[in-house]
Symmetry: C2
Subunit: 251 residues, 2 copies
DNA sequence: ACAAAAGTGTTTGGCGTACACCCATGA
DNA sequence: TCATGGGTGTACGCCAAACACTTTTGT
């Protein structure tokens, strides 16, 4: 929240917030969009409050649009966090001080906030981090080099990543994180990064093409060291279909 | 909430509730614990509010304990529901009227409630539905014969069941829903009921025993028509281990 | 004896895994 | 020409799916 703009707590769902874990993929790294808090040396997930007249999903979409300039993005609720101690007193006071809110009026910030976690998958190149004001620092950070986060945001991030790992088995994912045209090795790197393992190239190719959502383009990536890899795109229709039905049925 | 006992809204997290989808298994039916609303011909999921000094998970445990008399049960948060319109005006007024609360003081009930959904798996025979007061009607109802529910509870129930279906592929489940000693056909019926399909007996046996969490007992079920099936129990240690690591790794 | 449910084994096909060779390109 | 990464194919093993016969027990 920008300094000086005091939110009217009457207009928001009390004690409830949204936090978004926004994932992007670039330079073979899984990145997370984080915001530096001005009053502390910690970072935070982009988040917001829930207007009384907005669905929680809508509020999450709003956060995403404000922070990436993008609409119609893959966005999914994954968990809600509501430990009594998740707002520590220290945090509340630091915010109040920074925003110069008298303590009596600071009830809003010191109450326990229950926060609903959403994670989003976005095309790194299309999502331009948006500052809410000129001094704000908002950056893509490699998920392996995440600095100290406020509150329980580390826990939230962790849970988001875990959810992503599990959902990777239930649905194809690259569609949202890669540009329209991409190569199989790029897609594989994405999977490897998310899962934090190495995968076999040949087996990966077979498995991913067997899903039937990829279209091999008659085009190769250029300006590239070594042999030029083939470009692919997602078959949107088939992708949607698989999304609905799921991948690994199991039983 | 029992008639006449007016809750002090000061003590609860505003605009937030817990709803529990409590599953049991009996007579080859997947059952859900539901409560009849006194002021309407609809039913509702057991739920409650979140005391300011309680974690949301704790509040869910409390609901479960109040309603089944059981502690230490399988309980899992699965989604949070917060559409603006999920509290319809009509519902709020009906509650207020029944509880004889003046409309001015009824702000608490007419605000939009965001509700956190939990689902629980319990041993039908051990969980005795607990009334909060003598007139209350609380019953196990076959999930295929669920009557009309208030608000968006049908949606919540649906989502819970869907989550259960998905998690069935990630972990063994019968442990929580069956008595200590059970037969393979019973376990199979449970799976069939949850998934709403028929499974092959022989393949099911192989698959389920291959997981390595079952102990074949030297004992058969008696007082049963036809050939007496063997009794099994879960190997708690191995079960816990599998729970941690998950079943279908996928990638 | 018969019906209904339980126990058991085999075959087949597909998918996951492991692994090796050739090709294209920039340095 | 060499190093690096990309593309392709094959053999093996396991698991899942399909399927039939025997056993037990109550009626």
């Amino acid at each position: 929240m920008p300094k000086g703009i005091i939110l009217n707590s009457e207009n928001y769902q009390p004690g409830l917030s949204i936090d978004c874990v926004i994932f992007g993929f670039h330079d073979n790294q899984l990145k997370v969009l984080l915001i530096k808090t001005p009053y502390d040396n910690k970072w935070s997930l982009p988040g917001g409050f829930v207007p009384l007249d907005q669905d929680i999903d809508t509020a999450a979409v709003t956060v995403l649009k404000e922070r990436t300039g993008m609409k119609g993005i893959f966005l999914r609720q994954f968990a809600t966090f509501g430990k009594v101690k998740r707002n520590d007193e220290h945090f509340g006071n630091a915010v109040l001080e920074y925003l110069q809110i008298p303590k009596e009026q600071g009830k809003w910030f010191r109450q326990r906030f229950v926060t609903i976690g959403y994670y989003a998958l976005v095309d790194f190149l299309k999502a331009i981090p948006q500052k809410e004001h000129s001094q704000e620092i908002i950056e893509w950070i490699d998920h392996k080099e995440v600095p100290e986060l406020i509150l329980d945001h580390a826990l939230i991030l962790d849970k988001a990543l875990n959810t992503l790992r599990i959902e990777l088995n239930l649905m194809p994912i690259g569609y949202n994180l890669l540009p329209e045209k991409f190569t199989i090795p790029e897609l594989q790197k994405l999977y490897e990064t998310i899962l934090d393992t190495k995968l076999d190239r040949r087996n990966f190719l077979r498995k991913i093409t067997n899903i039937g959502i990829l279209t091999k383009l008659d085009e190769k990536k250029n300006n590239v060291a070594h042999k030029a890899p083939n470009l692919y795109s997602f078959d949107k229709d088939k992708y949607e279909e698989v999304l609905k039905n799921g991948l690994n049925q199991g039983w």
